[in-house]
């Protein structure tokens, strides 16, 4: 990095009309005061009297039969409270429910390995001791005898006759497979002037690696059978559905509580196995147990992002550069256990044609198990992999047919006048202007002087390339899409809950079902409620985190899948409107006028035409809570409102795999310039532009933060971050030494721009957002390919391109050229 870096600037902002009040204002974040003072309460900060520390004994083998587990020496150590083994787990729990169809649903997944270890780092036993160091010492005394088995790491070999079978019960490594076919791909092929073929593209395995590792503190209340699960799990609804049947208990016996969470990004959805083990230990040892994952454990065993290969890609293209669709096979590697999978086999189809007007699409999709860490949602979940593919298709086709990457995008983008646009599989893109966003991004990146910069870089011996990445951040899932995967599943729609009350002293109190991890939900919820209640965000207390005991949650509660602005705020808005209506009725009863004559403003309920006749919030709260004699009998007012927001979804057509799978589509166009050193393959991102459109921004600064963070994660994933395994299934990047995440010096100059295309389907026109960073992966890949035009016309075929891979491509262009061919049809 040079010192001539320009700071972040939002050079282009085109806002829709700003509403009065707090919506659209970057009010100070409520969360900040405690966090900047180190007063946040994260999971490892919680302590309980008599608490024991949990440490897991983990398999050093990727695939091995467990011959024996002997905990006796560990139990002899002073300060050790107890242990848990797979044999106990197999007796005391049932395997987790599997989402997939037979035979994949025969996979037996427990909180500890039972009989066999299926990936390096799989927990085999657990030890609890008085201190974390003692627990580690004791874990080393647990003697496990393993019989190593042949290992499967290559997903493309998983169906070979001689491939090791990872789970004996299903008898196959295939978790799920299905054919997705929309339009008429054969006719499109016949109509094409060129058919571009790509043999293989690979989307790499990485994760967002939140800085706070996973953890939990579990207490068991013996008389009631109630577990109190303090954790940083980000989707308690899903954890409860997994854990309650496994623990043979009711959903309400699992109380989930979270406070501050140190980043999650989807990686903290699937912590239910470890939390289950903690539940068993708390019950067995009659004491609270605390588990904090070590970084090495997080890299080895916390969910990774889905790895995916795209094979035998065929793209029919017209002479003018119009693409008609594509056909391919996709193999998704979910690691050793499906857990949240195979939902990723469907989730990508929220963005089937990417941003393009492609109508003829066919994908033969298979998900398989390997001896690697299980995968799970990771910022951009499954759509990122697919959108990387669509962007590679665009840029490879452009490269091979000598089309301009800007022009070919504009020719194929869905147009703003076609919005709302129904995709070939029935999804509805709500709003957006992709061509305009691209123009904004190009202006920010200095496209006008691209060729001059290229020539100037060439004089310095550098190869300069421009790359564009277009993505959609689909938000607010219709869980009915799970039925496309397995028609027997009984999930559909979506919902989120909020409660709001006016308390005795006039304090407005909100509880959320969402589980924020840095997205500022306390702040944004208070903006929405303040606007409706006629007070300020400072007058509103939003409780921190999530708690089942608040009864402000539903089965889908959590923070994931870019939905808070729609579902979370939809719930807050609904609850605040209910409360406002009650406050008006109460004031009307006291002041003796119709409720319609009452307005809420300035922290008062007052008569519109006689502002002297006013009741402060404190008076309303006191009347209902402690001073209610004489109120009319039929006045049904509690000043305690609960609202469940439910988006308008239908169950999709299972036969055609057709229907609206998400409510909103935020969009991102990123562009970057890279300079490659042709001698070494080292490269630098020298300029970067990110244009984001998430509809109306409720809190622009928080949106900006999400854009920045997602961009940085994409830059990391594009340039370095990889969970690499050797042929024996050993993870080669189990810590931040080997797994290089970007540092402050790695960041390019960033220019951010915002467009606001309000969603017609949501309150305030806001769209969920935060996952659009995949655009950065696409843009870096495209820029590298563009840069290498002058050095052999290489095809970028992997999502992760560290300098060594660029060097390999520079050394052997032909190895990448072989991956593509063009058939001329006319």
């Amino acid at each position: 990095m040079t010192e001539t870096v320009t700071p972040t600037e939002a050079l282009v902002v085109e806002e829709t009309e700003t509403r009065p009040g707090f919506i659209g204002q970057s009010v100070p974040r409520k969360e900040d005061r405690r966090l900047v003072q180190g007063e946040g309460i994260f999971i490892d900060d919680m302590k309980r009297h008599g608490m024991g520390f949990v440490h897991f004994v983990r398999s050093p083998y990727a695939h091995a039969r467990i011959v024996s587990v002997d905990v006796s020496k560990a139990l002899e150590l002073d300060g050790v409270y107890g242990t848990l083994t797979g044999d106990e787990v197999a007796i005391q729990t049932d395997p987790y429910f599997e989402l997939t169809v037979p035979p994949g649903n025969e996979i037996k997944d427990y909180c500890l390995a039972v009989g066999k270890a299926h990936y390096m780092g799989e927990p085999v036993a657990a030890v609890v001791a008085a201190t974390r160091d003692l627990a580690r010492d004791a874990a080393e005394l647990v003697e496990v005898e393993y019989e190593p088995l042949p290992v499967l790491v290559d997903p493309e070999r998983a169906q070979d006759a001689d491939a090791p079978v990872i789970h004996e019960d299903p008898g196959s490594n295939v978790v799920w497979s299905g054919l997705f076919s929309w339009g008429e791909i054969e006719s499109a092929m016949a109509e094409a002037d060129h058919v571009v073929r790509i043999q293989r593209l690979h989307f790499d395995r990485f994760s967002s690696t939140p800085l706070e590792c996973s953890g939990g503190l579990v207490e068991f209340d013996r008389p009631t059978g109630q577990w109190h699960i303090y954790s940083n799990n980000q989707f308690p609804g899903f954890a409860a559905i997994m854990m309650a049947p496994a623990l043979r208990t009711g959903i309400d016996k699992l109380r989930f509580i979270s406070h501050d969470i140190g980043g999650a990004f989807g990686n903290k959805i699937c912590t239910h196995p470890q939390l289950t083990a903690c539940c068993l230990l708390a019950r067995k040892l009659k004491r609270p147990v605390q588990w904090t994952e070590w970084r090495t454990e997080q890299h080895m065993t916390n969910t990774h992002g889905n790895e995916r290969v795209f094979l035998d890609v065929e793209v029919p293209v017209k002479a003018d550069g119009t693409m008609l669709g594509f056909r391919c096979r996709a193999i998704d590697d979910c690691g050793a256990y499906p857990r949240y999978e195979p939902l990723g086999c469907i989730i990508w189809s929220q963005v089937t044609p990417g941003m393009y007007r492609w109508r003829h699409i066919e994908i033969d999709f298979t998900q398989i198990c390997t001896n690697k860490s299980p995968v799970g949602p990771n910022r951009g979940y499954s759509r990122m992999q697919h959108l990387w593919f669509t962007e590679r298709v665009i840029d490879i086709v452009a490269h091979e047919l000598d089309l301009d990457p800007v022009e070919v995008r504009k020719r194929n983008y869905i147009r703003s006048d076609e919005m709302p646009y129904e995709t070939p599989n029935g999804c509805v893109y709500d709003s957006g202007d992709y061509s305009k966003m691209l123009d904004m991004a190009l202006e920010l990146i200095g496209y006008g002087v691209l060729e001059e910069r290229r020539a100037e870089a060439a004089e310095r011996g550098k190869l300069l390339g421009l790359g564009i990445g277009s993505t959609l951040d689909s938000g607010t899932n219709n869980f009915g899409q799970s039925q496309l995967l397995n028609p027997e599943l009984q999930f559909s729609g979506n919902n989120e809950v909020a409660t709001i009350k006016l308390d005795l002293l006039g304090e407005v109190v909100i509880t959320l079902g969402t589980v924020p991890q840095g997205q500022g939900h306390e702040t944004v919820a208070s903006q929405v409620a303040a606007e409706i209640l006629g007070c300020t965000p400072d007058d509103i207390h939003v409780r921190v985190g999530h708690d089942t005991y608040w009864n402000s949650h539903s089965g889908f509660s959590g923070t994931y899948a870019s939905q808070f602005a729609v579902t979370g705020l939809g719930a807050v808005k609904g609850a605040a409107e209910k409360l406002a209506e009650e406050m008006r009725r109460l004031a009307a009863a006291v002041l003796g006028c119709p409720a319609d004559d009452i307005e809420l403003a300035g922290g008062m309920a007052r008569m519109r035409d006689n502002r002297e006749a006013a009741l402060p919030f404190m008076a309303l709260g006191a009347i209902i809570n402690v001073n209610n004699a004489g109120l009319p009998e039929d006045l049904d007012v509690t000043l305690n409102a609960r609202y469940v927001y439910r988006p308008p979804f239908q169950v999709p057509d299972k036969e055609r795999k057709f229907g609206n799978l998400t409510l909103t589509y935020a969009s991102q166009i990123h562009a970057c310039l890279v300079e490659v050193d042709p001698e070494t393959g080292a490269y630098e991102i020298v300029n970067y532009a990110a244009v984001d459109d998430c509809g109306k921004r409720i809190h622009p600064q928080i949106v900006e933060g999400q854009v920045h963070g997602a961009t940085a994660q994409a830059i990391g994933a594009a340039t370095h971050e990889t969970f690499a395994y050797d042929e024996d299934g050993n993870l080669l990047t189990p810590n931040f030494y080997d797994y290089h995440v970007p540092h402050a010096l790695d960041m390019p100059p960033l220019h951010a721009g915002y467009l606001e295309s309000p969603s017609p389907f949501t309150a305030y026109g806001a769209k969920g957002m935060g996952e659009g960073g995949g655009a950065g992966i696409h843009a870096v890949c495209a820029a590298l390919q563009d840069a290498m035009r002058a050095a052999g016309n290489q095809i970028v075929h992997d999502s992760c391109n560290p300098p060594w891979r660029v060097w390999e491509m520079l050394q052997d262009p032909e190895s990448t050229r072989r991956l593509v061919s063009v058939e001329e049809r006319r």
């Binding site: 003072q37 490892d44 840095g518 900006e704 830059i715 810590n735 540092h743 402050a744 960041m747």
Partner: protein, 159 residues
């Protein structure tokens, strides 16, 4: 004779004097968090890469997971809990909030202490100097852009 496995240490943390018996193998970060209940200093890795545990040791920013507690015997340690005084936030704390330089807040204490060390020694750093000073601190939420802005703003008295 049994080997010595512990020692009494005297440490000044944020101006308060502590005397505690510590295990020889205890890390300074665990001493701060577990023994002194100063949980603002966080742990994000096992290898000294992430900087969430950064504190100031006799005037130098260090990663408290890379030091044993007994090595702090006689030292003055400053942690994030000591930044604000009399309820007034430190200019860096204000700047972090105003420029949205934190999201989840997990890396923030370490970032603040690295930044404080920089500004204590170089009150008017260039942007590059700020980025170099924060190189040992990982943030997974912000992409660093607003953090760099915050430190520059604090250095210019803009917060």
């Amino acid at each position: 004779m049994d080997p010595v496995t512990g020692k009494t240490i005297a440490v000044n943390v944020n101006g308060d004097q502590y005397e505690r018996e510590v295990e020889a193998r205890q890390l300074l970060v665990h001493f701060l968090r577990d023994d002194l209940e100063l949980t603002g200093t966080h742990i994000g890795c096992d290898t000294g890469n992430c900087g969430a545990c950064t504190v100031i040791y006799d005037g130098t920013a260090i990663k408290s997971c890379m030091l044993l507690a007994i090595q702090a015997d006689g030292a003055r340690i400053d942690t994030v809990e000591g930044l604000a005084s009399d309820g007034e936030l430190h200019p860096l704390q204000r700047a972090f909030s105003e420029t949205h330089a934190l999201q989840c807040g997990y890396c923030t204490p370490g970032m603040l202490m690295s930044a404080k060390h920089l500004l204590d020694n170089n009150p008017e750093p260039t942007q590059h100097e700020v980025r170099r000073a924060l190189q040992g601190n990982i943030c997974r939420c912000t992409g660093y852009w607003n953090i760099v802005e915050a430190v520059l703003a604090a250095s210019k008295g803009e917060a």
